[in-house]
C-alpha cells in the first residue's frame, strides 16, 4: 500500500517536474535556437532567456480585445496551454511513469497537439480580419498535411513495440537497442522531423521571425493578440515545441529517462532530457540556417515526402519483423 503511495507521489513529482521543465525549457529552446541561428549568421543575438523576458513583459501589458472577437480569443491560448500541459504531464519525458501514465498513449499526445492547432486556427478567425483568416487557413492546411505523416510515423513506432503506450514503447526500445538504428526507426525519425518542423512553424515551412504578408503563416494568425493573451499563446507554442523536441528525443533515444523511483533518477532524467532536447533544437536550428523558406504551394511536396517516409517506415517495419 505504501509502495503504491510512494509510486504515485513520485509520479506526481515527475509530472510536475515535466510541466515545469517544459514550461521553462520550451521558451529557452526557442531562445537557444535564435541564438544558434544568430551565431551561424555571424550576429551576437539575444540572450537565450530572451523569450522568458518577453513573456514577463507581455503579461504586464494592457489586455486588448479586438472589436468583433468573441470568447474564443481569450480562451484559445488557455486551451493550447491546457492541451499541451496535459500532453506533457502524461508523456514519459523525465520518468517512464508519470502520474497520468495510464493514459500515456502516443495517440493521445497527437490528438492533444491537434487540439492546440485547432484552437489556434479558431483564434485566428475570431477577429474577422483578412490576415487572421489567411493565417488560420494556412496553418490548418499545413496541419492537415502534416497530420497523416505524424500519425503514420507514430503508428510505425507503435507497431514495432506492439503498443501505443508511451512508457511501454520506451521500455521496449531500451530492451532492444538494436531497433534504434533499424531502417524503420530511421525512416520514422525522418518523417517526424519534418512534422516537428511543420508543427512548430520553423523554416522551411514557416518563418517565425517575419511579418511579411506573403510568407507568414503563424504570425498572421496571432496578429490580433496582445498583452497577457499573447504571452499565454507564446508560452503554449513554446511548450509545444519543447514537448515535440523532447518526445522525438526520447522516442529514439530513451536512455537516461528515470525508470525507477528515486530522486537521483529523476534528476538525471531532467538533465538528460534538457541535453537531448537541446540537441534536437540545435539540429533544427542548423536546418533552419541552411535552408530557405518554401513557397506555400511547395509545402505539400515536403509534407507528402514526410508522409511517404512514414508509410515506408510502417512497411519496412512489417517486412523486417
Amino acid at each position: 500500500m505504501s509502495a503504491t503511495i510512494t509510486t504515485s507521489l513520485y509520479g506526481v513529482a515527475a509530472t510536475l517536474i515535466q510541466i515545469v521543465a517544459v514550461g521553462l525549457g520550451g521558451p529557452l529552446l526557442v531562445g537557444l535556437m535564435a541564438k544558434v541561428k544568430a551565431r551561424a549568421e555571424g550576429r551576437v543575438g539575444a540572450p537565450i532567456v530572451q523569450p522568458l523576458r518577453d513573456l514577463r513583459k507581455l503579461l504586464s501589458k494592457e489586455r486588448l480585445h479586438a472589436r468583433h472577437s468573441s470568447v474564443v480569443l481569450p480562451l484559445a491560448p488557455m486551451i493550447i496551454l491546457a492541451a499541451t500541459a496535459v500532453a506533457v504531464a502524461i508523456s514519459p519525458l523525465v520518468s517512464t511513469h508519470p502520474f497520468l501514465g495510464s493514459s500515456a498513449d502516443i495517440l493521445v499526445v497527437v490528438y492533444l497537439l491537434l487540439t492546440g492547432t485547432v484552437a489556434a486556427a479558431l483564434a485566428g478567425l475570431d477577429a474577422g480580419t483578412a490576415f487572421g483568416g489567411m493565417g488560420s487557413s494556412r496553418v490548418m492546411t499545413i496541419g492537415a498535411l502534416a497530420e497523416p505523416a505524424l500519425l503514420v510515423a507514430v503508428i510505425a513506432l507503435s507497431i514495432q513495440s506492439g503498443t501505443s503506450n508511451l512508457p511501454s514503447m520506451m521500455s521496449s526500445t531500451i530492451a532492444h537497442p538494436d531497433w534504434v538504428f533499424g531502417p524503420s526507426r530511421l525512416l520514422a525519425l525522418g518523417a517526424l522531423l519534418i512534422v516537428v518542423i511543420a508543427e512548430t512553424g520553423r523554416i522551411p515551412v514557416d518563418n517565425p521571425a517575419t511579418h511579411l504578408e506573403l510568407t507568414m503563416v503563424h504570425e498572421a494568425m496571432i496578429l490580433e493578440y496582445a498583452g497577457p493573451e499573447l504571452a499565454l499563446f507564446s508560452l503554449g507554442e513554446a511548450m509545444r515545441l519543447g514537448l515535440l523536441f523532447s518526445l522525438v528525443a526520447n522516442l529514439f533515444f530513451p536512455w537516461g529517462i528515470a525508470t525507477s523511483d528515486s530522486v537521483l533518477a529523476l534528476a538525471v532524467g531532467v538533465i538528460l532530457l534538457m541535453a537531448k532536447a537541446a540537441l534536437v533544437a540545435l539540429g533544427v536550428a542548423l536546418i533552419e540556417v541552411r535552408s530557405a523558406k518554401l513557397r506555400l504551394f511547395r509545402l505539400p511536396e515536403l509534407l507528402a515526402g514526410g508522409f511517404v517516409l512514414s508509410v515506408l517506415a510502417v512497411v519496412t517495419g512489417l517486412v523486417t519483423k
Binding site: 503579461l59 489586455r63 491546457a82 491537434l114 485547432v118 483578412a130 487557413s137 497530420e147 497523416p148 503506450n165
Partner: protein, 665 residues
C-alpha cells in the same frame, strides 16, 4: 418485446395523429408522442443491451404470404438505441422547427413513419419483414426530402437521385438475401443456421449483392452520390436522422448479413468492405473540406465517418476470419462506439445547421459569420460537436477513433497479407482524414460563428426556440459522456459485438471508466485527462487573472494597421479551403471561371472581375452522368419500336408466329 411493440405503436399513433389533427396540435402533441415512443424504444433497447437477452416476435396476420418477424438481439438493440436517441431529439426539435411545408400533414406523418422504420429495420428478422421495413424507410425518407419541393429544384433532383439509388440498392439486397435464404423459410435464424451449407460461390455472390445495396445506403464511395444531395435538402431533423441513423443501418445490414447470417465468409469480403471504407473516408473528408454549403459539408463528413466505420467493419471481419477474435472484437466494438458517437455529434451538427438556417435563412458558410454573439447555445452545440468529430480529447470522437486505431494497431500482429493490407490502409485513411476533418470543422465553426456577419441574414440572426435548444443539447450529451467515460459503455458494446461476431470472447476491454486493454496493450483514462485539462484550464485562468490586468479593453482589430475593416474582407469558407483545394486539385477537379471586364478605354484597366469556383462530384460527373445519358438515349431510340404503323405492329406478331413454328417444327 411487448414494450418494443408498444414503442412502435406509439410512433405509429404519432403518425396517425399527425395525419388527422390540426396544425398546432399536430406539431406539438404528435411530436411529444413521437419522442415518448423513441424514449420507450431506447429504454427497451438499453435493457436488452444490459441483460444480453434476445426476444422474438412473429405474426402471420401481417404481411401476406410470409408474416412479420421481429427479433431483438443486442446488435439490433444498439442500432435501435442510437436511432431512438436521435429520434427523441428530432421529435423535440420539430416542436420549434416545424413551420411551412414541414408542419404539413404529409411531412409530419412521414417523419414519424420514418422514425418508426428506423426503429424497426434492425429488429426485422425475415427477408420479407426486413425488406418491408427497409423500403418503407426508403420511401418515407425520400418523400421527406421532397418537403420543400415546391421551392427547391435541388430537393426534387435530390429525391430522384436518392430514390433511384436506394431502389437499385434495395433490389440488390433483396436478390442477395433471397440467394442466401435458398432452402429456408426466409427467417434470419433459419438463414443463419443453414447458410454454411450453401456453396462458397453462392454465398460470396449473395454477399456481394447485399454489400452493394448496404454500401449505397451507408454512403460508401462510389455509391454515395445521392448522399451529398439528399441530406442537405431534407428538413434538418430528417437530415439528422438520415445522417446519423439511416446510414448506420446500412452498416448494420453488412454486419448482420456478413457476420451473423453468412458467418464471416472469406477474407476478401472484408477486404473489399475496408477498401470501400478507405476510399469513402478520403473522398468524403476531402469534399467536406471544400464544401461551402454547411449541410453538404456535413453530408460529406458523414461519408468520411462512414468510411472509417467501414474500415473498422472490414478490419473486424478480416481479423475474425484469420483467427484473431480478440482484436476482431476490439475493432467491432470500436466501430459500434464510433457509430453511436457519430449518431450523437452528427445529429447535433445537423440540428445546429437547421437552427442556423432557421435563424439566418441560409446555410451557405460564405454568407454566415459572427453567430457566436447572437446564437450562443447553437454555437456551443456546434462547437462541442465539431470538436468531437475532430477527435478532440476527451470527446466521443476521440474515444472511438482511439479505439479504432488500437484495433488496427493490434491487427498488425496478424501476419496474413490481407490483414496487413487492411490495417495499413486503414491507418493511412484515418491519418489522412484526421487533418482534413479538422480543416472542415475549423471552417464550419470559424467561418460560421466567428468573425463578422457576412450577410444581413447572419447579422439579424436570433437564437432559436427552447425546444430546438433542448433537442440540440440532448445530442451533445453523448459526445461528452462517451468521451469522458467510454468505459461505461464497454459492457453494452461487448454484448452487441458478441452477437455480431460468431466467436464470442472475453471482452478485450477491461471494466472501468476508461478504455483499458490489458489483454492487448494500451489504455486511456479520458476521465483523468478531462480532469487534468480542467485543472490546467482553471490554474491558467486563475494565474492569468492574478498576474495580469483583469479588465480588458475593446479596440478595433489591428490587421497590420489597416484603417478600414469590412466583413467582406474576411476570409470566406471558399478561400479558407482554397489552399487544400489546390493541393488536391487532381482528385477534386475544381472548375474555375474567371471573367474579366475591361474598361472601354484601355484593356489594361479592369472594370469588374468575376471569379467563380465550383467543386463538383467527379464520380457523379464521370461515372453516373454518362450512364444516365446512355439510358436516355436508349429510351429515345426505342421509341421507334412503336412508330404508330399498324403494319409494323402486325409484323411483330407474324414474326413471332413464324419463329414459334420454326422452333417447334
Amino acid at each position: 418485446m411487448e414494450l418494443y411493440l408498444a414503442a412502435l405503436g406509439i410512433c405509429a399513433a404519432a403518425a396517425v395523429l399527425a395525419a388527422v389533427v390540426t396544425r398546432r396540435v399536430r406539431v406539438v402533441v404528435s411530436s411529444i408522442l413521437g419522442a415518448l415512443g423513441c424514449l420507450l424504444a431506447g429504454g427497451v433497447a438499453l435493457r436488452i443491451l444490459i441483460t444480453g437477452s434476445t426476444s422474438t416476435f412473429h405474426t402471420s396476420q401481417l404481411l401476406p404470404m410470409s408474416g412479420l418477424s421481429l427479433t431483438l438481439d443486442p446488435l439490433a438493440a444498439l442500432f435501435i438505441l442510437a436511432s431512438a436517441f436521435v429520434g427523441v431529439a428530432a421529435c423535440v426539435y420539430c416542436v420549434g422547427y416545424a413551420h411551412g411545408a414541414m408542419a404539413s400533414r404529409t411531412a409530419m406523418t412521414l417523419l414519424f413513419v420514418f422514425i418508426l422504420t428506423l426503429l424497426a429495420v434492425p429488429a426485422a428478422s425475415s427477408v420479407v419483414s426486413f425488406m418491408f421495413c427497409w423500403e418503407l424507410m426508403a420511401l418515407s425518407s425520400m418523400l421527406l426530402i421532397l418537403t420543400n419541393q415546391a421551392h427547391s429544384s435541388d430537393a426534387r433532383a435530390a429525391a430522384l437521385w436518392y430514390g433511384v439509388m436506394t431502389q437499385f440498392g434495395a433490389a440488390s439486397i433483396l436478390l442477395g438475401l433471397l440467394l442466401a435464404s435458398l432452402g429456408t423459410d426466409q427467417t434470419f435464424s433459419a438463414i443463419g443456421a443453414h447458410s454454411s451449407q450453401l456453396s462458397p460461390t453462392l454465398r460470396s455472390f449473395a454477399f456481394v449483392l447485399v454489400l452493394l445495396g448496404f454500401a449505397s445506403k451507408a454512403g460508401a464511395v462510389p455509391l454515395h452520390v445521392w448522399l451529398p444531395k439528399a441530406h442537405p435538402e431534407a428538413p434538418s431533423p430528417v437530415s439528422a436522422l438520415m445522417s446519423s441513423s439511416m446510414v448506420a443501418i446500412g452498416v448494420y445490414g453488412m454486419i448482420r448479413v456478413g457476420e451473423d447470417l453468412l458467418h464471416g465468409g472469406t477474407v476478401w469480403w472484408w477486404v473489399s468492405v475496408a477498401a470501400l471504407g478507405v476510399v469513402s473516408a478520403f473522398y468524403g473528408a476531402l469534399h467536406a473540406t471544400t464544401s461551402t454549403d454547411l449541410k453538404r459539408l456535413l453530408a460529406y463528413s458523414t461519408i468520411d465517418i462512414q468510411g472509417l466505420i467501414l474500415i473498422g467493419v472490414g478490419a473486424a471481419g478480416v481479423l475474425n476470419d484469420s483467427g484473431q477474435p480478440v482484436v476482431a472484437h476490439l475493432a467491432m466494438m470500436a466501430v459500434l462506439l464510433l457509430m453511436v458517437a457519430h449518431a450523437g455529434f452528427k445529429g447535433a451538427l445537423f440540428l445546429g445547421a437547421g437552427a442556423i438556417e432557421h435563424a439566418t435563412g441560409t446555410r451557405n458558410l460564405d454568407r454566415l459569420g459572427g453567430l457566436i454573439h447572437t446564437m450562443p447555445v447553437t454555437a456551443f452545440v456546434v462547437g462541442v460537436s465539431a470538436c468531437s468529430i475532430m477527435a478532440v480529447p476527451t470527446l466521443s470522437g476521440f474515444s472511438s477513433e482511439w479505439l479504432l486505431l488500437q484495433g488496427l494497431l493490434h491487427g498488425f500482429a496478424d501476419s496474413s497479407t490481407p490483414a496487413l493490407i487492411v490495417m495499413l490502409l486503414g491507418v493511412i485513411a484515418l491519418a489522412l482524414t484526421g487533418g482534413l476533418t479538422a480543416v472542415a470543422f475549423v471552417k464550419v465553426f470559424g467561418i460560421g460563428f466567428l468573425g463578422q456577419p457576412r450577410s444581413s441574414g447572419a447579422a439579424d440572426a436570433r437564437e432559436v426556440s427552447t425546444s430546438m435548444k433542448v433537442a440540440m443539447g440532448w445530442l451533445v450529451v453523448p459526445s461528452v459522456v462517451i468521451g469522458v467515460v467510454p468505459g461505461a459503455f464497454v459492457a453494452l458494446l461487448n454484448r452487441a459485438s458478441s452477437s455480431a461476431l460468431a466467436t464470442p470472447v472475453v471482452s478485450p476491454i477491461d471494466k472501468g471508466t476508461g478504455l483499458v486493454l490489458s489483454q492487448l496493450s494500451g489504455a486511456i483514462e479520458p476521465a483523468a485527462l478531462f480532469v487534468g485539462l480542467v485543472v490546467v484550464l482553471i490554474v491558467v485562468w486563475a494565474a492569468n487573472q492574478r498576474l495580469a490586468q483583469r479588465r480588458s479593453r475593446r479596440v478595433d482589430a489591428w490587421a497590420c494597421g489597416r484603417e478600414l475593416q469590412t466583413p467582406r474582407m474576411q476570409y470566406t469558407a471558399t478561400s479558407f479551403a482554397e489552399p487544400l483545394q489546390r493541393v488536391f486539385a487532381d482528385v477534386l477537379r475544381p472548375q474555375n471561371d474567371v471573367e474579366v471586364t475591361h474598361v472601354a478605354e484601355s484593356r489594361y484597366y479592369e472594370q469588374s472581375l468575376l471569379y467563380e469556383n465550383r467543386v463538383v462530384d467527379v464520380i457523379e460527373m464521370r461515372g453516373y452522368r454518362p450512364l444516365i445519358t446512355a439510358a436516355l438515349r436508349v429510351g429515345r431510340f426505342s421509341r421507334r419500336l412503336q412508330n404508330g404503323s399498324i403494319h409494323r405492329y402486325l409484323a411483330f406478331g407474324f414474326v413471332a408466329l413464324l419463329v414459334i413454328l420454326v422452333v417447334l417444327a
